[in-house]
């Protein structure tokens, strides 16, 4: 019991380049990120319009729409999220997991990308609520409602969405890179120690975080304008396009940040 199944990178030219860069101590994080983005184009093609990802982005948007309602909990109950007025942060996190798991069962499909997105949303929401509620693990209904109500502000939605898309992008990056980096540990290899692997992952996280800044304002504005245009609602199709555009924007920004120094 406790088995763990690992995968391998394909032996195609783009992925071989990634493996070579990971093994090359001189290759920097943006260059590795760019090579990984290039190599993963095929994988991203395979999950275009992934329904699990769309479902996740729709739920994130509904959380923000709910925040604008008089009774956010009721709105989320109507959406299908099983939460109540006295929810703690873990209860909200598990309700989101459960909601998205149920949707996946109904769809009869669930990709790794959907799974990464789902966990990214749970992580982003938990982080957001944790920041707002501090150490309160059994907050009062007013405190939870207050924390949730922040999401209705375009600026706060922008922050949450940025965190979400940053996590999706970073998780995807490590999803691929962890199939190569762990094998490069030991003296004489790129990473002499596991701490250096951790540092590499932290540098990649920083790279994703910095690149994701490009979507924060866009997400806030998008939410504000589409909600206004939709009379308080946002059409599902619009949300799907929004999610993919944000992901592509971050991927583009990560690529831009890897351009060689022209000076």
């Amino acid at each position: 019991m406790g088995h763990i199944r690992l995968g391998t990178l394909p032996k195609t030219r783009p992925w071989i380049k990634v493996v070579e860069l990971v093994a090359d101590a001189q290759a920097d994080v943006p260059a590795i990120a760019k090579a990984t983005l290039d190599a993963s184009d095929k994988a991203f093609q395979a999950i275009q319009n992934d329904p699990g990802f769309t479902e996740t982005v729709v739920l994130m948007t509904e959380l923000a729409i709910a925040a604008k309602q008089k009774d956010p909990v009721r709105h989320l109950n109507q959406v299908g999220l099983d939460i109540h007025e006295h929810c703690s942060v873990p209860e909200i996190a598990s309700a989101i997991q459960s909601f998205l798991d149920d949707k996946a069962s109904l769809r009869r499909s669930h990709s790794d990308f959907a799974e990464l997105s789902q966990n990214a949303l749970v992580g982003a929401i938990t982080s957001h609520l944790g920041d707002k509620l501090g150490g309160l693990f059994t907050p009062s209904p007013a405190e939870v409602n207050n924390a949730m109500s922040h999401l209705g502000r375009p600026g706060e939605f922008g922050k949450l969405a940025r965190t979400f898309f940053e996590r999706v992008s970073h998780n995807c990056m490590l999803y691929f890179l962890s199939k190569a980096a762990g094998a490069e540990v030991g003296e004489g290899k790129r990473f002499a120690t596991i701490k250096q692997v951790k540092d590499f992952e932290a540098a990649m996280a920083k790279h994703s975080r910095e690149a994701s800044v490009i979507v924060e304002e866009y997400c806030g504005d998008w939410f504000s304008s589409k909600r206004w245009e939709g009379g308080g609602k946002i059409d599902r199709k619009l949300t799907s396009g929004f999610g993919w555009y944000a992901i592509e924007k971050i991927r583009g920004e990560m690529r831009a940040r890897a351009q060689p120094d022209a000076s």
């Binding site: 019991m1 942060v89 598990s94 800044v213 504000s224």
Partner: protein
């Protein structure tokens, strides 16, 4: 859509429209040899009641088919280019049962599909048909052992016994500590396991001679001709189905799995371990799913529980030692690589289970009780031969040590969102309390791994000093983590961010002033370029036209550093050059476009400010719009023709001024002090003459020293 597989069990024929052209056929009692599923149940030391409820009989057969199907469907790790698109499959099982009316009930099918779907990370669908000639339960029974010794006293509890450390501790807990009369159910996936389990069993019985337990062993496997998926994700379903059946035969309504909480929850060790790639054999949600299903079957509350959910592996070992049963540890086997086992080496030493066990033995200070010679590979000082094992080792250590740094349940969920799938299924406490206890558990595990590393260094000091430890052995990759930590920190730590900077990375400007909070700007690239140029040339004066020329050149090449295009002799007033008529026409067109764009941007800003009720901003923006319209009127007549080409210089000055002012307005939203600094005419002049000359020098930095590449517009 995921691949679809059809499994035809017990001789059932394929449906008319089958999504799978090559369905897998499985047969429990007869049928061709290459379709056979072997199921034999042995009650080693006491005969159980012969009568088995019909639904339990069905359950055991369903579990045997599911287990065999799951093993026969090989999952490839070569699915990177499809984002794991082949990992999850839709599995249609067609199974003959005695009570299709019961199994086809929506709540039963859903309970079955839900628990198996989560357990195996597949999508399970079932079609149940009436079995034409169902086997009797005793067809599966095998009484070749001497059925003596356990007596006929009533049984208090049914528990699972795999022969690993955790189940050994559970058995000792039941027999020695709690003095329960227990029936243990053991699953033997291969006859290779049988000998060590029997030996362990015999030794265990000697511990409690007055309290003989019942042991029921189940041998289940399938024809070798079928595929082989070694991780056996649905093994615990078969195990639990047999356990619940035994419990029902003994009129009991509960079942115990003993597994430490870290392995039971099995959080992903690295990012590629998505979903069920970390097995969920005793995951709290799985055990809750079993409880729900078994309760439906026996029409009463039936509980499947794991009493060790809040314990670490080292805790479990300490339990064994405290009970005076430390000598049994050497006979237990934890290894997940069953196919590598030999008589000499019963454990591979490199799989996650072996690594976990060895570190826990060190942490629990019980190292001497586990014979090192039984491990084929001493992972502490040797290389792991396989690539996957090396990845796993590094990932295992990093995850364990990372746990120590997590300080709150919120942070635990945020960093490991997967844990929120376990929290609601651990009964007895609020979710907040469970989250706190799981944090304590994982932090404890991290601390134990760290203490085990220290102990390992002490144990293997000779090899380390004499350079006999492999460069990528566990100790060296982890130990250097500690020894070199300070040196690495010194060499790799990022220099502190400068107190004042104004640089561009990618398409974003990042700004900080006098140690304040840094902030990004995305939408004022021109204004930022002009400002960066002026800030980087304190004391120099430029015309608006020269500022535009220099900065727009930088804009055209896109990513050239401002510092790279600056003219070091530009210290005097830069006057406009003579301009020929073509250039003026072109300049007019460009100016017209600039005005159009500036007006359009401004209108958008006004609309946004209006929507957001930012009345202060709205007034400023409207004033700015008036100025812009004035500028347009000055430069163009009502037919859109340029009034005077001599106005070109003025309009360019205006464009610089407007862009800089708008950028400063944007900066004000993030840092009022900087906006005040830039708004002061003593510091910054914009318009016909542009200069930055603060009375007190500000040490602006225009290149990010922590960036992987030079930062100011150089990426």
């Amino acid at each position: 859509m995921p691949p679809e597989r059809v499994i035809l069990c017990g001789g059932l024929s394929a449906p008319a429209k089958s999504p799978d052209a090559a369905p897998i056929r499985l047969n429990l009692t007869d049928g061709p040899k290459d379709t056979r599923v072997n199921l034999k149940i042995s009650d080693f030391n006491r005969r159980l009641p012969r009568s088995v409820p019909v639904l339990q009989n069905d359950l055991v057969e369903i579990a045997a088919y599911v287990y065999s199907a799951d093993q026969a469907i090989v999952r490839t790790g070569q699915d990177t280019d499809t984002f794991g698109g082949k990992w999850r499959q839709v599995i249609h099982l067609h199974i003959p049962v005695r009570r299709p009316d019961f199994w086809s009930r929506p709540e039963v099918t859903k309970a079955l599909s839900d628990v198996l779907g989560f357990l195996a990370d597949h999508i399970f669908e079932f079609t149940f048909k009436k079995a034409a000639n169902p086997a009797e339960f005793h067809d599966y029974l095998d009484f070749t052992d001497s059925n003596a010794g356990a007596g006929n006293a009533p049984i208090d509890q049914v528990a699972m016994f795999s022969g690993g450390l955790d189940s050994l501790a559970g058995a000792i807990e039941e027999l020695v500590t709690l003095r329960n009369r227990v029936a243990f159910v053991t699953h033997i996936s291969t006859p290779k396991n049988s000998a060590f389990i029997r030996q362990l069993w015999t030794d265990l019985q000697k511990l409690s001679p007055s309290n003989k337990a019942v042991q029921i062993a189940v041998l289940a496997n399938k024809a070798k001709a079928m595929g082989k998926e070694h991780t056996q994700r649905t093994r615990s379903f078969l195990f639990a189905a047999l356990g619940s059946t035994v419990a029902q035969m003994l009129k009991l309504n509960s079942l115990r799995f003993y597994e430490n909480g870290v392995v039971s929850i099995n959080l992903p060790v690295c990012a590629q371990v998505v979903g069920g790639r970390a097995t969920r054999t005793t995951h709290p949600r799985v055990l809750a799913g079993f409880s729900k299903l078994f309760s439906l079957i026996c029409e009463a509350d039936f509980q499947v529980v794991n009493p060790f959910i809040f314990e670490t592996k080292a805790d479990v070992i300490r339990r064994i030692v405290r009970a005076g049963a430390g000598h049994l540890i050497a006979s237990s086997v934890s290894c997940g690589h069953t196919w590598t086992r030999t008589t000499e080496h019963s454990q591979c030493g490199v799989c996650s289970q072996c690594i976990d066990r060895r570190l826990a033995m060190l942490s629990a200070d019980a190292w001497e009780l586990d014979r090192a010679a039984r491990y084929e590979n001493n992972v502490f000082i040797n290389s792991s031969p396989e690539r996957d094992d090396r990845i796993l080792l590094a990932a295992y250590l990093n995850r364990a040590l990372a746990m120590k740094t997590i300080t709150s349940p919120t942070e635990l969920i945020s960093r490991y969102p997967e844990i929120s799938r376990a929290i609601p299924y651990i009964p007895g406490q609020s979710q907040a309390q469970v989250a706190q206890r799981l944090l304590d558990l994982h932090r404890k595990h991290g601390a134990e791994v760290e203490s085990a590393l220290a102990a390992a260094v002490s144990r293997h000091a000779y090899e380390l000093v004499n350079d006999q430890a492999a460069p990528d052995c566990l100790i060296r990759i982890a130990l250097e983590n500690r020894i070199l930590a300070s040196a690495e920190t010194a060499s790799q730590a990022s220099p502190p961010a400068p107190p004042s900077y104004f640089w561009r990375r990618g398409n974003v400007w990042e700004i900080r002033f006098k140690g304040g909070t840094s902030f990004p700007l995305q939408r004022h690239d021109k204004g930022c370029r002009y400002l960066a140029h002026l800030l980087s040339h304190p004391g120099a004066t430029f015309t608006g036209q020269s500022v535009q020329d220099i900065c727009d050149r930088a804009g055209e090449v896109g990513h050239i550093a401002l510092s790279a295009i600056q003219d070091p002799t530009e210290t005097d007033l830069h006057v406009s050059k003579s301009i020929d008529s073509d250039a003026l026409d072109a300049a007019d067109d460009k100016k017209r476009e600039n005005y159009k764009k500036a007006l359009s941007d401004l209108d958008a800003e006004i609309a946004k400010a209006s929507r957001e009720h930012r009345h202060g901003d709205l007034a400023a923006l409207k004033t700015e719009r008036g100025e812009l319209i004035d500028g347009i009127d000055r430069d163009f007549n009502k037919f859109g023709k340029s009034r005077k080409t001599s106005n070109l210089a003025k309009s360019r000055n205006d464009a610089v001024r407007i862009n800089v002012r708008r950028t400063i307005d944007e900066i004000r939203k993030h840092d009022a002090a900087l906006a005040d600094h830039l708004s002061s005419k003593k510091n910054l002049r914009v318009g016909a003459q542009n200069s930055y000359q603060p009375p007190n020098t500000v040490a602006w930095v225009f290149t990010d020293p922590t960036a992987e590449r030079v930062a100011v517009g150089t990426e």
